[in-house]
């Protein structure tokens, strides 16, 4: 394929990227964001898959089998914990307006410039060679496709710089990063165009790799079955399909751990996952879409590696370039070009994002703090520093890319470049303890993080970076085999005699042991400043704090004027933007923006946050400190503020308690109200029934009276009969009213109980005597079995008589004349349910009886057994209800035993008077008063 065609395709593709980014930015300016969806967000995370994935995975797979996978399984593991870790980082970064991982870590540890600078330096140092690796991949794949180096084993760049494609790619990438990565001075704002382009590139590289994979499996071979069957003929290839090469290498777990750290700590991942995140809720879908993306792009890695190994004689083609070499070997030029574009996508997306992320760090955490420190910015003389800031950032981009290119020129084919992928991972993994510890452990301190980071990166340099230099021939190889100066104990691959681990695991062990160990140990014995402690809590407790409370964590004792503050912010953001921002705040509330006023603490904080978005948290603090007289709050002031806060907390705790109490009370009130409503309903029922019962006798009285009145010549006999009826009905009426009154009195508890020791036998004898005539008139036989001595009971004589009379007249009413027979019995009983020892009175008849169902309700008010619609009511319906209340008031029990057709037995028991010593021997009628004063 002619080189010119490949070059034209590459540049056409890169200009397409410019167009996409430009379009996305234009849309964003008009208020429509193409990146505000979880899908673009998830795809942009695919920047994790660089050429190291696109070309390198196949290379790794052809020696390690599935050993290339831990790089992607690690991030998958992190995603399962995404809601506990990444979501928290996201929330904190938004509150703090973090612009990079260096800024984030610096802000956590008291906005430490030193820490931020160190993180930025390590990131640049550790990741720039990684950019070189991308350029190398572009260069080699270009040469392979153009036919200048069909083996892909290229020995580095051979053309002059001006004739080198990689140089132009680097320059174009710098241009892209400058145009779309530094549009706005506010680095915390989203780079819409850049993210859109990166997401697009993720799609291209996935489709491209899948296309190659599918063609290799179904084009060259006859599907997976055929491909894998053929491996049987080659033991070396068949071995790749087992776990042996992957696990034999010994680095499986190490690489998993490293990639877990890398997915959060790599500057480009932090940039896209945290800084460019538009909405926190997008994380939800990205958490599983991103691992799915990684799975898909890795699906064909092993088949491609296996197919390449079987097709090409050993050593004729670099396995790293199988993705290109396989389609070319079959003459599929279009597919090869597509594969090349896929690789170009993987390279450029990584380069763009990494450069933007690194340049933000360099400018905000290295250059600006230095300028502020050295007082080179001359804050008082320059009203607008935005141009300077942007220039710094753009220069940083260009410098980083040229550094990457320089490294590629210098070390193009060295071991150090090929191994840089994992070495980079190990470098940025050193941020993990300070980062993860910082968001979950408020005890981690600045000095702890600093010492951990320094120790970790030193161990990394000694056990990983320097050996890679030695293997590249830049250092004496004896350094590896004999240790520096022949000291065996310090051999970098077997430090202090630690042997048996592969170099990567060895380095990870030492660097992490020192890093975590010092971070924890120093933090435990450290006493952080108040400002640092406040900032630590703002991170660790981010979900428990409101935005305002988090903002309050950085407090300034304002002694500057509003005008000065706006001017200061304007220097970094541009005067116009600063004016707009403050005006926006003023619109929201009652903020006084008159220039000569003292700036309130809230305003100063707002200004700091604005500046933090542009120059990073640490620099913003320094800039503000130089302008706000009095500087940060002092210890006593802070303690007073803390005190106020705890008072507010206490107050809110009390409020919570109060509201819980109120809730309990309202539940009780609701219950009471329901009970009242029920009682009200019962009362209404009662009233309507009583009125009905009263109307019946009244109607008859009135009817008879009208007859007598309207017919003066009525027969005297007839008249007497009518008068008799009127009298009877009146009596019934009177009885009814009396009973209603009784009932009401009992229920209201207004009745005067005359409680004394009474003899139930005597009462029953009197009652039977009184009613004997009624029974005789009706022709009913009345038998009374009343013993001479009955144990005395405590009760009201009159009321008990009322009960006895009621039961007797009931019996008289319902027992048929002639054959009727009523038996009254009084006896001493013990062990009666609910009552115990007592006197039982039974009144049995042989009338029609009542059903068991009626037996339950017969004691209710106005419940007359039988059909009330057809039968003439024979009672008031209150008698038994009154009996029940009287008996129960006296502690006794009343019930009825009956079955239809076999008569009914009404019985009640009144408990015996336990204060009487020997009731059985008490002579008839001679009672021993319980208490003389009773």
């Amino acid at each position: 394929m002619p080189a010119s065609l490949v070059a034209a395709a590459s540049f056409a593709y890169l200009f397409l990227l410019f167009a996409i980014a430009w379009g996305a930015d234009r849309l964003a300016d008009r208020g429509r964001s193409v990146i505000a969806t979880p899908y673009v967000y998830a795809l942009s995370l695919g920047v994790f898959c660089t050429t190291w994935t696109f070309y390198g995975s196949v290379g790794r797979a052809s020696t390690l089998g599935i050993g290339f996978l831990p790089v992607y399984l690690g991030p998958t593991l992190v995603m399962t914990l995404g809601y506990l870790v990444i979501a928290k980082i996201l929330r904190i970064a938004k509150r703090q307006r973090s612009t990079s991982i260096a800024d984030f870590i610096a802000a956590r540890y008291g906005k430490s410039q030193l820490l931020g600078g160190m993180v930025a330096a390590i990131a640049v140092f550790g990741v720039t060679p990684y950019i070189a690796l991308q350029l190398k991949a572009v260069s080699i794949s270009f040469d392979l496709l153009a036919g200048t180096d069909p083996t892909g084993l290229g020995t580095g760049p051979h053309a002059a710089i001006l004739g080198d494609k990689a140089f132009y790619v680097a320059l174009l990438m710098a241009a892209f990063a400058i145009v779309f990565g530094t549009r706005s001075i506010d680095a915390a704002e989203h780079h819409q165009g850049m993210v859109a382009a990166v997401a697009f590139e993720s799609v291209v590289k996935l489709l491209s790799f899948l296309a190659v994979g599918i063609m290799v499996v179904w084009g060259i071979h006859d599907g997976f079955g055929d491909l894998f069957e053929r491996t049987a003929s080659s033991p070396a290839v068949a071995r790749l399909l087992t776990a042996e090469p992957a696990l034999g290498d010994g680095s499986w777990i190490t690489v998993t751990l490293l990639s877990m750290a890398a997915i959060v700590c790599l500057p480009r991942q932090f940039q896209l996952m945290i800084v460019e995140n538009v909405r926190e809720s997008h994380l939800r879908r990205a958490l599983w879409l991103f691992p799915l993306y990684m799975l898909l792009i890795n699906l064909f890695v092993l088949p491609v590696a296996v197919a390449g190994l079987m097709l090409f004689p050993a050593g004729s083609v670099d396995p790293d370039m199988f993705v290109l070499a396989l389609p070319l070997s079959q003459g599929w030029k279009a597919l090869a070009l597509f594969a090349f574009v896929g690789g170009l996508s993987a390279a450029t997306s990584m380069i763009i994002v990494e450069t933007v992320a690194l340049s933000t760090m360099v400018s905000n955490d290295l250059v600006i703090p230095a300028l502020l420190r050295l007082n080179l910015l001359k804050l008082d003389r320059h009203p607008d520093l935005t141009r300077l800031l942007l220039t710094i950032r753009r220069t940083a981009i260009l410098t980083i890319l040229l550094m990457g290119y320089g490294y590629f020129r210098f070390a193009g084919s060295a071991y150090a470049l090929g191994a840089i992928g994992l070495i980079s991972f190990a470098a940025v993994a050193q941020f993990a303890p300070a980062l993860i510890g910082g968001i979950f452990w408020s005890g981690g301190t600045r000095r702890g993080a600093l010492s951990g980071l320094i120790a970790g990166i030193s161990a990394w340099t000694y056990t990983l970076l320097l050996p890679s230099f030695a293997r590249s021939g830049w250092l004496d190889p004896g350094f590896l085999s004999d240790g520096p100066g022949g000291m065996e104990l310090l051999r970098p691959y077997a430090l202090f005699g630690l042997q048996g681990l592969d170099p990567l695991s060895h380095a990870l062990f030492w660097s992490m042991a020192l890093n975590v160990g010092l971070y924890v140990a120093v933090s435990l014995f450290d006493r952080p400043s108040i400002g640092e402690r406040v900032q630590a809590n703002a991170f660790v407790d981010v979900f428990r704090m409101t935005e305002r409370a988090t903002a309050a964590s950085s407090s300034w004792r304002g002694s500057t004027t509003v005008g000065e503050l706006i001017a200061l912010v304007g220097r970094f953001l541009g005067p116009q933007r600063a004016e707009q921002a403050f005006a926006g705040l003023a619109r929201g509330g009652s903020v006084d923006l008159r220039r000569d006023r003292q700036a309130t603490a809230e305003l100063v904080r707002f200004g700091e946050r604005l500046m933090a978005g542009a120059i990073g948290a640490a620099s913003a603090r320094v800039a503000l400190a130089s302008a706000v007289r009095g500087g940060e709050v002092t210890m006593p002031e802070l303690l007073r503020m803390l005190d106020e806060t705890s008072q507010v907390l206490e107050y809110s705790r009390q409020l919570e308690q109060k509201s819980a109490e109120l809730e309990r009370t309202s539940v009780a009130l609701r219950a009471a109200n329901e009970k009242l409503l029920e009682l009200d309903r019962l009362k209404d029922d009662f009233l309507s029934t009583v009125t009905h019962e009263l109307r019946t006798p009244l109607t008859s009285i009135r009817a008879f009276a009208e007859i007598l009145h309207d017919n003066p010549d009525i027969e005297p006999d007839q008249a007497r009969e009518f008068l008799h009826l009127i009298i009877k009905e009146s009596e019934r009426l009177t009885r009814l009213i009396n009973q209603v009154l009784d009932m009401a009195k009992i229920e209201a508890g207004e009745i005067d109980w005359n409680i004394e020791t009474v003899d139930l036998g005597e009462i029953l004898r009197e009652a039977t005597a009184t009613t004997a005539q009624v029974f005789k008139d009706k022709g009913i036989a009345l038998e009374a079995h009343i013993p001479d001595t009955v144990p005395p009971v405590r009760g009201d004589h009159d009321r008990l008589t009322q009960v006895a009379m009621n039961l007797l007249s009931n019996a008289a009413k319902f027992t048929p004349g002639g054959s009727g027979r009523v038996v009254v019995r009084v006896e001493h009983v013990s062990d009666v349910e609910h009552v115990g020892d007592g006197v039982k009175v039974t009144v049995s008849d042989n009338g029609p009886g009542i059903t068991p169902k009626d037996a339950e309700i017969v004691f209710d008010k106005f419940r007359q057994v039988g059909n009330t619609m057809t039968d003439k009511p024979q009672g008031t319906g209150l008698g038994l209800a009154i009996c029940k209340r009287i008996v129960e008031h006296l502690g006794g029990r009343i019930w009825v035993e009956s079955s239809l057709g076999h008569g009914a037995t009404f019985a009640f028991v009144i408990p015996a008077d336990s204060t009487i010593s020997s009731p059985a021997t008490a002579p008839n009628g001679a009672y021993l008063p319980a208490n003389a004063d009773d």
């Binding site: 599935i66 399962t80 914990l81 979501a87 997976f224 894998f228 399909l241 776990a243 992957a246 696990l247």
Partner: protein, 79 residues
């Protein structure tokens, strides 16, 4: 879109899934499935590692996307 929908999923499920993935993705089980041999024409190891990877992703999707029923109805109202 704010409020209930942003409520994080259950942490204990996610941690359990993390531990499960940790066991599935690491040597003892890989060793067990890593012997030479084919299943449905695929190397057993490849089938295993991509199978469990996909399963972990599916479980993760279930855990983070599924909401309690009462919250779902509230969300539907918001379109």
């Amino acid at each position: 879109m704010t409020g209930r929908r942003d409520r994080p999923p259950r942490g204990d499920r996610l941690i359990a899934l993390f531990l499960l993935a940790l066991v599935l993705f690491n040597p003892p089980l890989l060793q067990a499935f890593g012997a030479p041999g084919f299943l449905f024409g695929w190397p057993a190891l490849m089938l295993y590692i991509f199978g469990v990877w996909l399963a972990v992703i599916a479980l993760l999707a279930l855990a983070v996307e599924r909401q309690p029923p009462d919250e779902r109805s509230a969300d539907e109202g918001q379109g």
